[in-house]
């Protein structure tokens, strides 16, 4: 039943897109309105709430002391976790889609990591012994498509707010800080859906239902890409990927002003 309603709606999306139109009136290469609200949690070392249209994400960073990996004794690291909360959508209730959440987390992680947003050496406290691990966790609280971009924006906004806790006797002093985390780059994801042969920026949920394929590209500055992820059962031509890349550079430039 429900599936049938989705199918009808998805067909509507496809018909519109064939005419170059979208369900919500946007242009094919237009992103939804983005809002960024910083510092949503005092217990977090950095945090932000991001809305991308009706998609809403809450992100927080916790700086935790740990031991470095033996093969990288002078580097800290990051860890990205995502939860698609049941309250975000009636569809997430029957067991939230674990594989999807893992994919989103890993793609956002790659964007930040490979985009060299953070100089991992700057997270070293004492070589071989003590480093910072930045735990970046975000929660999708209302899902209307494209948690990739919303999560990427929220993660970066939260990192940009992050303070480094003070250390005493190798332990964190609560609620005291020694400075701010400095970001070397501002890598951001841009996601495009392919629907009926057209490339559509920043898909809403019903567009995701209609898509043949999905492509996400993270760029860290005006010249450098740092992560790709193609998803879904369809395919892209090389020329289409090139078009997606161009959209990503343009989109990231705009987003960078907000985070």
């Amino acid at each position: 039943m429900e599936k049938m309603i989705w199918d009808i709606e998805a067909n509507k999306v496809t018909s519109l897109i064939k005419e170059g139109k979208r369900v919500d009136g946007r242009k094919l290469d237009e992103r939804r309105k983005v809002t960024v609200l910083k510092n949503i949690s005092d217990n977090a070392d950095g945090s932000a709430k991001v809305t991308l249209g009706k998609t809403e994400v809450m992100a927080g960073v916790k700086m935790v002391l740990g031991t470095p990996y033996p093969d990288n004794p002078d580097k800290g690291t990051i860890s990205v976790g995502v939860e698609l909360l049941p309250l975000a959508s009636p569809q997430f209730e029957v067991g939230p889609p674990r594989e999807n959440a893992i994919e989103i987390a890993r793609v956002v992680d790659r964007g930040i990591r490979e985009g060299k947003a953070i100089d991992f050496k700057s997270l070293c406290v004492r070589e071989g012994e003590l480093v910072w691990i930045a735990f970046i966790d975000f929660y999708v609280t209302n899902y209307d498509g494209n948690a990739f971009d919303a999560g990427s924006i929220a993660a970066l906004a939260a990192l940009n707010e992050t303070k480094i806790p003070k250390i005493e006797d190798d332990k964190v002093v609560k609620h005291e800080y020694s400075g701010k985390l400095k970001l070397a780059k501002q890598p951001l994801l841009t996601t495009v859906s392919k629907i009926a042969g057209n490339l559509v920026l920043d898909p809403v949920l019903i567009e995701e239902k209609a898509q043949d394929a999905r492509f996400s590209c993270a760029v860290s500055d005006d010249k450098t890409m740092c992560a790709f992820q193609k998803g879904f059962g369809g395919s892209f031509k090389v020329s289409e990927i090139d078009e997606c890349i161009d959209l990503s550079f343009k989109s990231a430039k705009e987003l960078r002003k907000l985070v």
């Binding site: 949503i40 217990n43 976790g81 909360l85 309250l87 959508s89 209302n142 609560k174």
Partner: protein
């Protein structure tokens, strides 16, 4: 935070460490209808606590063998974000979250006309994004408002608050510093204010009966303060609805 064995006066000249009076709750802001995809929702800031609640339902309860042919089920999930506490929380739900989910769901049952929803379930999701003592009271309070927002028929709202003891004083709505007092007693309480029926009551820490008698009076008074805030938030929402299309 209080140093060990240091003698702290938690109430001095009628004022608490954060300037509140003994019977004063922390600032409380509520917004109703904040999540487009939920049937009902509310966002609550109460002191440092920040709580988001979504309600889905009533809808058919699944799996079927869990259905009750006489009345609907209330399923309550209380979860804390990893960054909502001083030390990063393990992302997996723990035993504390399980217990709070259970008693909070039970606290709301009596307020809902559940007999009108046989074989159905009402799912309540409470997400804590920031905390500082009192997050379960905040969760229940916001959940009741979200149920109203979902249009679920209720006898009354449920309002909750913490009451307790710190430095020998019975005080309302303890914050974290007060909860860390060496002699601290913490008593979360929830009532249906019209009848003053107690629907949630827990307690932690040594207390005498006279102290309890004082505390419960203060707690009920606190619940009534919360009740007023709930009504204001709901009125705002419905005013907006009427003004809007």
């Amino acid at each position: 935070m209080a140093k060990k064995d240091e003698k702290i006066e938690y109430v001095k000249n009628g004022k608490r460490l954060d300037g509140r009076k003994v019977d004063e709750i922390r600032p409380l802001k509520m917004k109703v209808g904040v999540l487009p995809n939920a049937d009902g929702s509310a966002y609550l800031e109460w002191g440092q606590n920040k709580v988001l609640v979504g309600v889905h339902g009533p809808k058919e309860a699944l799996p079927k063998h869990k259905q009750n042919p006489y009345k609907g089920l209330v399923r309550f999930t209380y979860r804390m974000a990893t960054f909502s506490v001083p030390d990063r929380k393990n992302p997996r739900p723990g035993r504390r979250e399980s217990e709070i989910s259970k008693v909070s769901g039970e606290a709301l049952e009596k307020s809902i006309f559940l007999e009108r929803f046989p074989n159905c379930a009402i799912d309540i999701y409470v997400e804590i994004f920031d905390s500082n003592a009192g997050s379960r009271a905040a969760g229940i309070t916001a959940a009741s408002v979200a149920l109203a927002d979902a249009g679920i028929p209720m006898k009354d709202l449920v309002c909750a608050v913490g009451v307790g003891k710190a430095g020998g004083e019975i005080i309302l709505d303890l914050n974290k510093d007060e909860e860390d007092a060496p002699d601290a007693v913490d008593i979360p309480i929830a009532i249906m204010p019209r009848t003053e029926e107690i629907v949630l009551l827990q307690m932690d820490g040594p207390i005498t009966k006279p102290e309890w008698n004082k505390a419960v009076k203060l707690g009920i008074q606190g619940c009534n303060q919360v009740y007023e805030a709930q009504k204001v938030a709901l009125r705002e929402k419905f005013a907006k609805v009427e003004k809007g299309k």
